[in-house]
Amino acid sequence: MPHETEAALSRRGFLIATGSTLAATALRPAAGDAQTPAPPPVPGKEKLIVRSSRPLNLEARVTDLTTYHTPESAFFVRNNYDAAPVDPAQWSMRIEGEVDNPVVLRLDDLRKLPALTQDVTLECAGNGRAFHQPRASGIQWEHGAVGTQRFTGVRLADVLALAKLRPAARHVAFDGVDKPPTPQAPDFIRSVPLWKALAPHTMLAFEMAGRPIPHLHGGPVRAIVPGFVGSASIKWLERVMALTEEFNGFYMKSNYTAPRADNDKEVYSLQSLEVKSVIVNPAEGARLAAGKVTAWGWAWAGEGELTGVDVSTDGGKTWTTATLVGPSDRYAWRQWEHAWDAAAGSHTLMARATDSLGRMQPASRAFNRLGYRWNVIHAVKVDVA
């Protein structure tokens, strides 16, 4: 790879993407109105909804998110650009920039460092974008670009220590092997502030659910930045750069930004996930028998700590505290449940999470051009007979 030029790399990335049967997209005129029938499913990912076939973007139905650890078959895929699979034996990664000792590391080098295993909820920054009015720019995710995985790897701080960070380093950028379709298009590179890069939970992961990370999820090695929007957790890592400033590129300064609260003419690059909850059961439109129903779902809070979930069964008029159950991990979603005595009629169930940063899920979210920060209270309508 060191002998190839940028352009050659880009072209190769493109031809791989085009040549793949999974990724192939062709056109045939439709007879009637604008409509987009579903593209063919991806092997192992048949349950997921295809939002785009190239680059590949797949999301779960919220009713398939039934377990604390999301099975691979229900785990969303968000690619800004596709990449060819990387052979773990050939894989290496450069640590460069504001370091005194630039190094190239292979998997064996990482395995010599202390290992860390943790459960992490990853959510795409644009999850819920489809609910913005008017329609916001980007992949039209509904509820399912979220899931929880057990990742194993090493601390980024330990890797940066090998490279001897200079005092001037303030941000750390990640770059994967995915390349844009043309050299004029922006490379997918994102950075995190130094405090987050050095935090003990920020890791370079090489296992997911106890096995090598599957290609679609960023293996051989993926950055995992718990609490931050999913795009911080760069896949197919090949380069880590220590920088004096936030990385100056399209995916930091334009995409993955939202208007500032104090001045909406300016934007900031997204960091923490929002406080959020989803209802897994009952499903939207469900027809239930009167009697005991366990309403339940997931809640998470990014950099905040989840403090509670309230449930309403009357469209938000009254709220009761849900019970938090199951595993409690700092950067993973928490299961909540509520025993509901369902009477005949139509009902709207709602769930509303709160966190240690004083955040509560809102009833509405101001439109933003790129459709981020969607954490409006999830409502589900059901009929009880």
Partner: protein
């Protein structure tokens, strides 16, 4: 650096090789121009969007900057096509 038209020529074969049905677009004047979008990404990326005139114009200008082979006369036709089928009346 590639020139955009050379890019289109080089990739035309690859695109044509996958002439199976995956996504349909309405066959009204200008629909063939959408074929140029799939040089870089699937057509879903384009047709999931709903913009007004400003939003579509800015998006196409960005694609042209990336190398999309869309000369000015084709941009006008594409704009008309996109606004006919993929317009958000409330959008920019």
């Amino acid at each position: 650096m590639w020139r955009s038209l050379a890019l289109a020529a080089a990739l035309g074969t690859a695109v044509a090789a996958h002439a199976q049905q995956e996504v349909e677009v309405p066959k009204t004047p200008g629909w063939e121009l959408i074929m140029r979008c799939v040089i870089c990404h699937s057509v879903e990326i384009a047709v999931q969007q709903r913009f007004g005139p400003q939003g579509w114009s800015e998006t196409l200008d960005r694609m042209i900057k990336y190398g999309a082979p869309i000369p000015p006369e084709d941009k006008a036709q594409l704009m008309a096509y996109l606004l006919r089928h993929y317009r958000d009346p409330a959008g920019r």
